[in-house]
């Protein structure tokens, strides 16, 4: 395989990994605050359809991405209101968000099915992008890709280097104590959920504006769920989410290439690969119980009702 092929494979791995990375990083912040939002898949597909629709209407994929961020955040507000203000069961409410998101996106997107999409083009920086081999890799990808990397670094810095990040982690560890110290538990969790929604929205936009780029009903195809698994896999650490997302991206691309190369395995089996890999990874992580127990935010998925 020559260098050009390798570079193009790596770039396709980046493209496959970016939505996973975005959604998982957002969910990591949500879970660090003690909230389990199983609605990632739903928020992602809302982002995908909104981003696509906005890009079609305005002709501008960047406006599409912004709309997707806003839509994801707005949609997550529904989950936040139920689980935080009404203290509903987080697992069931997250499922509801996913079910509603899939239904709603189908309705919104019905008119867009089959339309050719507007692709968010890769950036092109004179000279830099033209550097052989690494130029395209480092300076020739789309804006959302760069955002995803900046996001991981920013989240890592925020969680472990800022006071607000410390407050967020304290809320996830022990909301009762945080409340007693005057840290606004519910407000912190609202903001975390909104941030997670925005990230999922952008992840969806990457699918419908960069990766595919088209609107296909149910196009997230379980990526939101894989993102949830990645957070567990990463034991709630941003850098490990990065590693996990790229591993999964690689598995996805490997499966495409295997199909293209005509390897005599039915396509359906190859398509199943990322899902089976997710199960495998979850089992692997769960076997190390001690590590999981230490890293899991202690109040994860426990409703909190402050007394006043």
């Amino acid at each position: 395989m020559d260098l050009v092929v390798i570079v193009s494979v790596i770039i396709s791995v980046c493209a496959a990994s970016t939505p996973l990375l975005l959604a998982a990083t957002g969910e990591l912040v949500v879970e660090r605050s003690g909230v389990l939002n199983l609605g990632v898949e739903g928020m992602m597909i809302i982002g995908a359809v909104t981003g696509f629709a906005m890009a079609q209407v305005t002709g501008n994929p960047y406006l599409g991405a912004l709309a997707a961020i806003a839509a994801g955040a707005f949609f997550s507000l529904l989950f936040a209101f139920l689980t935080l203000s009404l203290a509903t069961n987080q697992v069931a409410t997250g499922l509801a968000l996913t079910i509603l998101g899939l239904g709603l996106s189908g309705m919104i997107g019905e008119g867009f099915v089959g339309q050719p999409g507007i692709k968010m083009e890769a950036v092109n920086i004179p000279f830099l992008t033209d550097i052989p081999v690494v130029g395209k890799l480092l300076f020739g990808q789309d804006v959302i890709f760069y955002s995803s990397l900046i996001l991981v670094a920013a989240v890592s810095w925020f969680l472990f280097r800022t006071r607000a990040g410390l407050m967020l982690r304290s809320v996830g560890d022990n909301p009762q104590s945080a409340h007693a110290l005057g840290i606004p538990v519910i407000r912190t969790r609202y903001l975390a959920v909104l941030f997670g929604g925005a990230c999922s929205g952008l992840a969806g936009a990457h699918l419908s504006l960069v990766y595919v780029p088209q609107w296909v009903e149910g196009m997230t195809a379980g990526r939101g769920w894989i993102a949830l698994a990645l957070v567990v896999f990463a034991s709630w650490r941003p850098a490990r989410v990065l590693v996990g997302a790229y591993l999964f991206g690689a598995v996805t691309i490997a499966q495409f290439h295997a199909q293209a190369l005509g390897i005599p395995i039915p396509a359906q089996f190859l398509t199943s690969l990322p899902y089976l890999a997710t199960i495998f990874v979850l089992v692997l992580i769960a076997r190390n119980r001690r590590m999981t127990l230490i890293n899991t935010p202690a109040s994860l998925s426990q409703p909190f009702v402050p007394d006043r």
Binding site: R163, L166, M167, R169, S170, D173, N174, Q176, S177, A178, H179, A180, L181, G182, I183, R290, L293, I294, P297, A298, D307, R308
Partner: protein, 530 residues
């Protein structure tokens, strides 16, 4: 630093007519309180009297329904804990407001209300903790620390804000007697610096020793004020409770029979990262005696309870022997069928399901021991609800459980009444062996006395009773023999008459781990047993 003389200090805090209503419950009813500069003021009251509610309002965690608070002579609204901190009010919580997954420095930083440089903070922490004799490692993870160390964090982070008033909620309930003495020295020093301390406790001896004034709460109302130094413990108690409490009687002490529960070199690994491992625990519990297990919280009490009850089973059948039968491999139902009964520490969520009715909670613990009575149709196991309800009614009558409605949810009962029901649920079986963890934790004085008497009566009738308790007064009140649990190990039990607070305190601080040089543990484990 002023050396204050009592009652000559100016008024620092004045609370007038404060009322707090939760739903239909008046937790505080028109409460008045004043605290002077440079005094240690006691807030007395039994469980549920409304002490914690009152101080949470002073610290801004709760908002009063009505009434006013004056601070240094002017009326203030304390809208949040940070507002309280700005005024100069600090608080040390009873159930610490700490974060297990964070470091000591991070825990302290969270309470300071503004951004701080972490290195600077670690430095300050070190100097304050040295100055007041409260050693702390700023980088340690709180989850790994002992209860005493956790309290130090609370106090240090309170002192870092240079407060004029420090509120301490039941600070000694988690300390060994020696640690408590050190705390008193620290508090006296703080008072001498001109700070005021609002000291909440139901331990009368320490209030007499420490405080110059006391305000007494009962059922949410102020029922009196006094100088505790001029009172006796008994007179304070009757003011607190408002009625005479029956004294617990023990008649047949020393009249013991065969071994009904034996623990033979019982060891268990820690189940979770923050749990305690049990180390080589041996004990014989005989018919007719009450053995008290003293110890500071978090030293393996709940792990020991789970190991004996069979919620955690052993690998070796002889580790636990009940009524002469090896029970190490048996689950809790099978151990119950051997004649054992168990009462866990936590009422709601362990001993009872909150949203279940009393009769359903009866079935919870008795479905196997009373299979013939409660279940029908063999394998189908149809529940005979009528039979369960009849027995529940009997237990309610036997134990004088106060409730509203015919068969209310467990969560609708007060702590004392639910505990009476849970104790009655087991007593009704006439068990040969009874193991209880913290029998009167958070229970009002009347219910506590009744529960203690019932446990003694059970022993008198020929059963063996083990009481695990953090409350030393309780341990002394009911035990024939006393052992101390510390760091997952158990000291050799000794007759209660030979034990003092001081030597129990020594054993509480002891480490039972066999050290590398092979020296026996300070508490003298019965390691030579076969």
């Amino acid at each position: 630093m002023t050396n204050s003389t009592k009652n000559t200090g100016s008024e620092l805090l004045t609370v007038t007519g404060i009322t707090k209503i939760f739903g239909t419950l008046k937790a505080n009813d028109n409460v008045d309180l004043d605290v002077n500069t440079g005094e240690i003021h006691a807030l007395l009251g039994e469980n549920g009297a409304g002490k914690s509610t009152l101080v949470k309002m002073l610290f801004g965690s709760l908002q009063p329904t009505s009434g006013s608070i004056q601070w240094r002579g002017s009326t203030v609204t304390i809208g949040s804990p940070s507002a309280a901190r700005i005024l100069g009010i600090g608080m040390v919580f009873q159930h610490f407001s700490l974060f297990d997954a964070l470091t000591v420095s991070e825990n302290i930083a969270l309470s300071l209300g503004e951004s701080v440089d972490m290195n600077d903070l670690a430095q300050k922490t070190r100097s304050v903790s040295q100055e007041y004799g409260l050693p702390l490692d700023p980088g340690a993870l709180v989850g790994d620390l002992s209860v005493g160390e956790r309290q130090r964090i609370e106090i240090v982070r309170c002192l870092l804000q240079d407060p004029a008033l420090i509120i301490l909620d039941e600070p000694t309930s988690v300390l060994t007697p020696q640690e408590a003495d050190k705390l008193f020295e620290t508090l006296e020093r703080l008072r001498d610096e001109g700070r005021s301390i609002l000291y909440i406790s139901h331990r009368l001896e320490e209030v007499k020793r420490l405080c110059s004034r006391a305000t007494i709460l009962r059922h949410g109302k102020v029922v009196g004020a006094c100088d505790p130094r001029k009172e006796t413990a008994a007179s304070l108690a009757s003011k607190m409770v408002g009625a005479d409490i029956d004294i617990v009687h023990r008649d047949n002490a020393g009249n013991t029979g065969e071994v009904l529960l034996a623990l033979n070199s019982l060891s268990m690994p820690a189940a979770t990262p923050f749990a305690m491992a049990l180390k080589n625990i041996s004990l014989d519990l005989r018919a007719g005696e009450v053995v008290g297990i003293a110890g500071v919280a978090g030293n393996g009490q709940s792990e020991l309870f789970d190991a004996i009850s069979g919620e955690a089973t052993q690998n070796n059948p002889d580790d636990v022997v009940i009524n002469g039968q090896s029970a190490g491999l048996l689950d809790i139902s099978e151990r119950r069928n051997l004649g054992a009964a168990f009462i866990p520490e936590e009422r709601l969520g362990h001993g009872a399901v909150p949203d279940f009715t009393l009769s359903e909670n009866l079935l919870l613990a008795r479905h196997q021991s009373d299979k013939d009575r409660f279940l029908k149709l063999g394998k189908i196991a149809l529940i005979n609800r009528a039979a369960v309800k009849i027995l529940a009614r009997k237990i309610v009558e036997d134990m004088d459980v106060r409730k509203s409605g015919e068969d209310p949810d467990a969560s609708a009962l007060s702590g004392g009444n639910l505990q009476k029901f849970i104790v009655g649920r087991e007593l009704d079986r006439n068990p040969d062996v009874m193991v209880v963890n913290q029998p009167t934790w958070g229970v009002d004085a009347g219910a506590a006395a009744r529960i203690r008497q019932a446990l003694i009566d059970l022993a008198t009738s020929g059963s063996a009773v083990m009481v695990i308790s953090q409350d030393l007064d309780e341990i002394f009140e009911i035990s024939d023999r006393i052992a101390v649990i510390s760091d997952g190990g158990l000291s050799a039990p000794a007759p209660a008459k030979e034990m003092t607070r001081e030597n129990i305190g020594m054993l509480m601080g002891a480490t039972h781990q066999a050290t590398s040089d092979g020296s026996a543990s300070a508490a003298g484990n019965e390691e030579a047993r076969p």
